[in-house]
Symmetry: C2
Subunit: 351 residues, 2 copies
């Protein structure tokens, strides 16, 4: 019988955090691509555009004028998917027709006053200011809402409609689907094994090494064993930390520095401003914040779509939508490529 090699033989892998499977068919990287090629990315964004509602001093859709902010800037999304006061749909009349109330707020956070930078092109102290702003918005909104979702859609390919460096924060009165899955898995793991799932997972990856991308005094970046997106990564603190506001000053500085390195590697991979969606997951808050959430470990997911070049992405379509996620290179191959990339941004040599 043939010896199994992950890079040659398709197999399925289990995601114990979100209770999902992925089909890994690494030999598929060999297939030629004749499909859609992404439009070239905007390369020149003006540093300041008075008509861009995210810029300092600009007027937003609701008529408000932005301050001349110099660091980060947080404001209410003018077209929020969640509002604080939506009435309840009332009781459902049938088990197949269940609707429930959803309340919340949606905020936008600008990372920097300039439109022509991205996180990897910002300085470590500037990124540290973003980390602090994330921690404080989590604390503020978490006082009222059980879930505070911080996420960044970067690049037009990821539905981002404004090139100014920013993320969003959607806080909700309900635990969203993915949060529910992670809650269930982490709770079950803790009760079965007596320690948090992601603490043991991080320790194992440090021993096994082949999926590590970056390590620092306080943080790890790795391509998870169950990664779905070609160059997906998981960013984890080494210490048991449940939520962003708990991070110490040293951990925050170190986070800013490892994020800069990771995002620089991402940009260097295809010499482009690497598109992705990323977001933070931490223990639920709101009125239940005081309960025991020790099974939770803070982490960030990075989901970047590019597969082969700056213009050829992975499509999660037919089979993926109707059956199961499928990937075309192994997580170990992806980690190896990311590890090998320089930590100096490709554009910084040229400027």
């Amino acid at each position: 019988a043939t010896t199994f090699r992950a890079s040659e033989h398709q197999h399925i892998r289990y995601n114990p955090l979100q209770d999902e499977w992925v089909l890994v068919s690494a030999h598929r990287m060999k297939r030629p691509w004749q499909g859609q090629v992404e439009p070239p990315l905007l390369t020149t964004v003006p540093r300041h555009d008075p008509h861009n509602p995210l810029c300092p001093g600009a007027t937003r859709a609701n008529g408000e004028v932005n301050p001349h902010y110099e660091g980060t800037f947080l404001f209410d999304n003018d077209f929020p998917a969640l509002r604080p006061d939506a009435p309840s749909p009332g009781p459902s009349d049938h088990p197949l027709f269940q609707a429930e109330a959803a309340r919340g707020v949606c905020k936008v956070m600008c990372f920097h006053p300039w439109s022509d930078v991205t996180l990897p092109l910002m300085s470590v102290p500037e990124i540290r200011a973003v980390v602090d702003a994330w921690a404080s918005v989590t604390e503020d909104l978490g006082a009222q809402y059980p879930w505070v979702q911080i996420f960044e859609n970067k690049g037009a390919m990821m539905g981002c409609s404004n090139p100014h460096p920013h993320c969003q924060v959607w806080a909700s009165s309900f635990l969203p689907d993915v949060a529910q899955h992670e809650e269930r898995s982490q709770r079950a793991y803790q009760s079965q094994h007596g320690e948090p799932l992601l603490m043991e997972y991080g320790r194992q990856e440090l021993l096994r090494k082949d999926r590590l991308v970056l390590t620092s005094e306080h943080w790890l970046v790795l391509v998870p064993f169950w990664a779905v997106w070609p160059f997906q990564t998981l960013l984890l603190p080494r210490r048991h930390v449940r939520r962003l506001p708990e991070l110490t000053p040293a951990e925050r500085d170190d986070l800013a520095s490892i994020m800069k390195k990771l995002l620089t590697k991402y940009d260097n991979l295809f010499e482009t401003s690497f598109p992705y969606s990323m977001g933070w997951h931490g223990a639920p808050m709101g009125s239940e914040a005081g309960a025991n959430w020790d099974h939770w470990q803070l982490h960030a997911h990075y989901y970047p779509p590019l597969l082969r070049s700056a213009t050829v992405r992975k499509f999660m379509v037919g089979y993926e939508m109707l059956a199961q996620a499928q990937r075309d290179l192994t997580p170990e191959q992806a980690a190896e490529r990311l590890r090998a990339l320089p930590e100096v941004h490709y554009r910084l040599g040229q400027d």
Copy 2:
């Protein structure tokens, strides 16, 4: 207190078939769109291109020459994600690192010898031939594999790399994730309520009417209560049918006819060749085919990405990937728009 109106007040809805929630924020349709605009779709595809590996008489990547087929044509995918003989990864050494064997086959099915047609532009008898080919490939591969996933990725936006009308068939030795969810939900519903989930659901939608798009003697098309994609639909037989091969000749003719109507409406919505991923789900087969699968009801899902026009799509990104699916119009609004569209294709007046 304000009276709840689904078209104005955000709320969450439950998908009992796949055990998922969706956030419905219909007021968001009002927000302006300044993000990525899709490239215009290829409007002129030559009827025959000797270099297109899907055309009759063309040579494929493996050197084989296609027959001069006149109806449908089924062949092995030259770059399959699943092969029949992959070795097993062996037992896992840790609960957080679980991998399992995956075996299977991937086939491509051409719908028609011409490259410049799509299903809605084909005749009902031609579509009926596709239905028969779907039923027979399900039967053939289902003899060996527990799951036979038929799916169509239509349009470059959906990762389709060849404009020739075709679908794919991936059969696997494992029950994929989505199939597992549907299996669990349908089994639980049957054991609690004594009838198949989707039989009761179809009946309820016939009574409630506001999400129906099309009905015929043997079939229903509706926008499910829990739809995620803007104009997502569910296609269901009225009779209790577990798998495609069980369909009677009359049901197959009627299916061809209702599919032509649905896909014509889709094309008419934004006067474009409407992109989507679609696929069939039916009871598992393989060595367990003889077990009791009466809780299953055959159905097809259509997942089309367009939201506002032929060039503005819905992005399932940051919040959707990290927290929960979110939609910008209600399923009832989507059904109403689809219902109102003509059943004659917009291009047929012009030709």
